[in-house]
Symmetry: D2
Subunit: 430 residues, 4 copies
């Protein structure tokens, strides 16, 4: 594929990414492929990995062994060596910039990471039938980020090919699934001058042909990990000498779910992962839980977070254990600006294949695009999160999820059209 | 080393095993080394792996990947290929038999497996200082089974060299730490004709020079594993669709410890291992707990086991989960016969270096030697579990455990002397 | 006081009820006082106690001892003997009916019961300062139902005195605080011909002078009581023989709060009451919990109810206990009809003292007026729940709650005006 | 009945006490009847209520209302007014002293309180059939203390009538069932000069005719009460403002049972009583648990007590509640001295109706006679706890418990004989 990519090019690009799903901060192959493509475009700047990310308190970074494993896997899959070298330490992602004439700076944010889900191997699952099922067994693009990265590329090409005047920045953001990449991108500084930001997600239970101009209802989220440390003991001979980290983790788990619902709005709590102990006959010295709390607003999320810490610390104290609580990911809530959603609606009305347009809909989940949106809005800019429907056979985050590839074309038209329109009308200025 | 092994030979043999600790059913190197030695002796029969074990419902057998890993590790460490081949499928252990003249069949049982404990790397730890620290990082002979295997060899040599008349069977039993090997050895059938059985353990908080003629107070034990299966769901978007396996596991854990104490005697319960879930934002579909219950008597253990199953099943039902409960290891309680302990006392009185003799002491833990003992006793035979003290710097099952090697010599003298005496007096006949 | 009551009469009537707060199904004094007043009016029918209530599966009825205690207390406080006799068995409440000419049947529902809360005895609390603090120590009109009953009487008088044409039914409903009276009133049948129903509540965090034309956001609710029965045992000598009802209740409590939040809307759960056991040294044979679940919709409440039953039954099974689960109160969700709220707004605009009018507001709690509203609506009629603000120093259900008595006058004007207007315009017909 | 009581007198005395069971610190009728009898004997001193008890930190004393209720009940049952007046404040119990010649001071301790258990009303239950079933409904002499008080009187008479030389002190101790009276009696000072102490219990699963010379195996015990205080809130409208005392109590309960078993010996834990909250729709502000921990030794009990406090405090912290933990009763472990048990054996051999004598047996429960025994032993004296078997149809602390009255005669013979023998041989001196 070369500039200017055809739809066939884009679809085969998406399928290549689909075959190589990589989880948060390990998007080595993915980034290398994106950068490889971007280098063929006539850009004003191309930033890679550490050049777009803040390095302070980066959340949810895996350990070196884990990073190495995926680094080698990317190399083995044929990722370009010279690009890989720029990504060491799990600094993944890329940013394409081009400037043309006077005009606002418009940002587009797409995310690129995959999930720890084993992809369906049934023939009824299109990627299996068509031969682009995941080659990284146990991992899968089950939320459409392969399509998102492709849309980013397609929008870039479309805008390059238009009368757009202004600056376009396309952010290929890593580690969204761990809600850890958004904050790092904000800290990287490249959003500081963005006047209007669009983010995009396919699907979200909307069919192909439906566009949601401004998704709302983001739940603010915080991921935590609590490591309990007690004291081991022989469970038969000296049980009383143990400080039971497994019991502390179990008590924490049970009581985390008991945090009171809140009358101000929706909250969530989940202990998604747990693990502890070494042998049946040893009182567990170490145990951990990893989970998340959410809230309809950032305040509600913080209410849950405060209470969660109290519960976890009390559960540790109950069994004479120490506990270390870390925050592994975080995103605020956010809202789409009406100035942009109105604009997206008017553009969508002219896009072929769009037969239903919603002004807004609730996401009901979390997304760290909200960090970027909030940052732009805090600086006086505008932001909207655009949903582009796709017929997906299985739900998001399930093993039979897939994207109707027609959606990619629609999304490119809607987003590139909107970006051109933003440049033309500068809605923020009005 | 060759027959007749000197103490120096035996110590270097023990240190070799110490450097290559292998957990339950993965004692490939260990078995190969033992068999290699046994082949140099003048035996009437030498059984290896599957030849000594029943194959039905063998407990706690790891999966093939895990077995392969250790198999290759043994090969890489230099284990004899021809012996390894006889051990595939995790059928480890060996049995040496020799017959001489008329007389009773006497058994000696030693165990050979190691623990998933990381050995101390401080210079104050003798194996580190002397260069025979574990080479299988994360695993360790932290309960002296390296010494036990060595004692088995030493006793064999000593009896071979004596006036013993009868049949001697030395069982090198695998998988004691998972209390899974004992039952398999009984099912293998080689104990059916044993008239008197001795088992041995070093240490047990007794110093070098102290002998416990008949250890008692074995806690009957049962290891369980419960696998909970619920339904996954996005924890933010559709939490109500989840059936939370982690919560079921946590509820089970909390309530297992609440099983009532029993007025008939000591009981124990421990959830040693737990784990579940795949991601912070997914309601866990699968979770497991692995643990054990014990009782001062087999009945008390069974009381705990019954109650534990009710708790686990109810916890699963509480969260609409399915649960599969498996028994992973089991041992009854047992007692040492006075006819044998009296004999061991009289022999010990004449052993150099023995300065304290106790008739009995409570183990306070579990041991699947009890399966062998009970089987021999059920057939009308006698059994005793002999403790041979050793100065051990760290406690059993801790990373600084070690054996005072003088103990090996004392144990060989006490046990070979007792075996000769059994043959001479046939205490069962009296 | 006699017909036509002045505001002074009404205020002293309200203070009399305030001095004699009576909880659900025990409103003997209250009903007797109301009936005593109603008898002086020119009514077409006056129904008392069992004449207005269905008797099948009445929820939350106290036992005979408890009923007797309050019956005698009412008698001692001076309630009329002949009326009391009509209320035996805890059939409390009254219904006043008058018909005049042709016109729709309009219902007004007020509730009359009090709460188990100890009223403040500080001088800053007006009822204390003015001498009408609760004389039933431990019980209090802490939600304004004394004002509601008074408003019912005042509205009746005002409508009697107006040009109203149609039928007016004023329901003085018992047992709202236990959400148990509403269903019984529906079952009593007197609502079957009601074309339009108004219900009223004072306060709800709105100040004096503010009217909410149609309160919405009722949470559907279900009250449960679970009685666990295990087996007693001496906790020292034979703990294992116990089946621990207290542990079952504690496990149920912990896990009830862990029922997953729901993405369709707000849910609630509370174990408000618990109790069990007889002595520290006896394993508790009996224990109970009493609580409630709520949902933003009836479906969400039923989701919680289903899950709650599973949790409670599993907790019982976990400890080999039996459990009996009863439903003690229940109310669906409901909404106010716009036809009525528009009418209430237009009337309120002309009422002296009203300086703020809201079309709607969320209650955020539960109310069994919803049973009545839903029944009228199911029959093709209209319903609205009108909020009349009052400056209340303490929150609802706290010991310093009180009503600004000016509110009583405003409520009478708003409601009687609305009733007259309903009769005049018959909004349902339009 | 007057001095010298016949067996018929004693049996009717026992039945009178049985008809008037009174719980801890409320033994008004019981004490009055005992004192009424004692006054007819020729004693050197007769101490009543406050004269025998220390007043500092008396445990488990009920509130004034509760004391008044029982006080009035005793008066109504015909207790002597002049004696009742000496017992105000719940200072119950009595001490009879007589001195004759030179000789050791011998103590006998009997307890006098009853239990909160409803007595069986079936005709198969002898007290029902014979008309001496409990008249204090809900309370019952279900542990034989009615027989103990009678035995105390009978032994006094027997010794008075013998050649005994020395001092005899018969302690009628209150509040044993709450293990609260023993410490108070020790603090009262009358035990300071006792050289040998006997305590007695009937039954304990031994049949009529069997004597246990020295009961051992007392579990040390500590009773606790934890009062949790949170914050109330409307469970529907503002659940997040609540600090849920019921949840704190439930979490404490669950985790108290999870305190690890101890390898040094038997432990126990029980939450016998729990209660909290005011209404289903209010987050509970207050909740309590009342329970006990025990240990085979005083150290084991203290291990449990320490851990229990940590659990309770952590459970409170978990839900932002305050907690107040009180100790409501306590008793150490103790052992019977062999010098005395040998003497009891020799006496028992000569007692008519005794057909089985055991040197010792484990109680398996707790008793605050241990406070008295330990105090005497600490002062250099001797103590033994004598069991006198009785055929009891129902178990101790059940509603069908009863005493075979022949036991009373046997106990009097064994104990008076032993006391005379102690005086004769002064075993402590030897």
């Amino acid at each position: 594929m070369s500039h200017q990519a055809t739809m066939d090019d884009l679809i085969s690009f998406r399928r290549d990414l689909h075959r190589h799903p990589e989880p948060a901060w390990r998007e080595f192959y993915t980034t290398a492929r994106i950068v490889d493509e971007l280098e063929t475009r006539d850009l004003d700047a191309l930033y890679v990995g550490p050049e777009i990310l803040g390095s302070e308190n980066r959340m949810a970074v895996p350990d070196d062994d884990e990073l190495d494993t995926w680094f080698e896997r990317a190399r083995a899959a044929g990722a370009r060596e010279d690009i890989l070298e720029r990504l060491t330490g799990g600094y993944t992602g890329a940013l394409a910039v081009f400037e043309r004439g006077e005009g606002p700076t418009v940002g587009l944010r797409v995310d690129i990471d995959a999930l720890p889900i084993t992809e369906s191997d049934e023939e009824t699952h299109l990627p299996t039938a068509e031969g682009f099922r995941s080659e990284n067994e146990g991992f899968m693009h089950a939320c459409g980020h392969d399509a998102h990265a492709t849309i980013g590329l397609g929008v870039l090409d479309a805008v390059l090919d238009s009368d757009f005047e202004g600056t376009l920045k396309v952010f290929f953001q890593p580690s969204e699934e761990r809600v850890a990449g958004g904050k790092a991108v904000v800290q990287g500084g490249h959003l500081d001058d963005v006047d209007a930001l669009l983010a995009v997600h396919v699907g979200l239970d909307h069919p192909t042909g439906e566009v949601v101009c401004g998704v709302d209802g983001f739940l603010a989220v915080s991921h935590f990990r609590a490591d309990f440390t007690g004291a081991p003991a022989h469970a038969g001979a000296k049980p009383e000498e143990g400080k039971n980290a497994n019991l502390a983790a179990a008590a924490a788990t049970q009581n985390l779910y008991s945090i009171s619902r809140h009358s101000d709005g929706a909250t969530r709590v989940n202990v998604g992962l747990m693990g502890g102990g070494t042998a049946t006959n040893i009182v567990a010295e170490e145990s951990f839980i990893e989970g998340e709390v959410r809230g309809e607003t950032t305040e509600l999320m913080e209410y849950m977070e405060d209470r969660a810490h109290t519960v976890i610390e009390s559960a540790a104290a109950m069994y004479d254990c120490e506990v270390d609580i870390g925050v592994e990911g975080k995103a605020p809530s956010a809202r789409s600006d009406e100035e942009l959603t109105t604009l997206v609606r008017s553009v969508s009305e002219g896009v072929e294949g769009v037969d239903s347009i919603l002004d807004s809909d609730d996401l009901g989940g979390s997304e760290d695009a909200t960090y970027l949106m909030q940052h732009v809005q805090d600086n006086g800019g505008l932001a909207a999160y655009v949903g582009v429907g796709t017929d997906h056979p299985g739900g998001h985050h399930t093993r039979t999820f897939d994207v109707d590839e027609e959606t990619i074309r629609i999304a490119i038209d809607v987003l590139s059209g909107s970006i051109e329109q933003i440049a033309a009308t500068d809605p923020q200025a009005s």
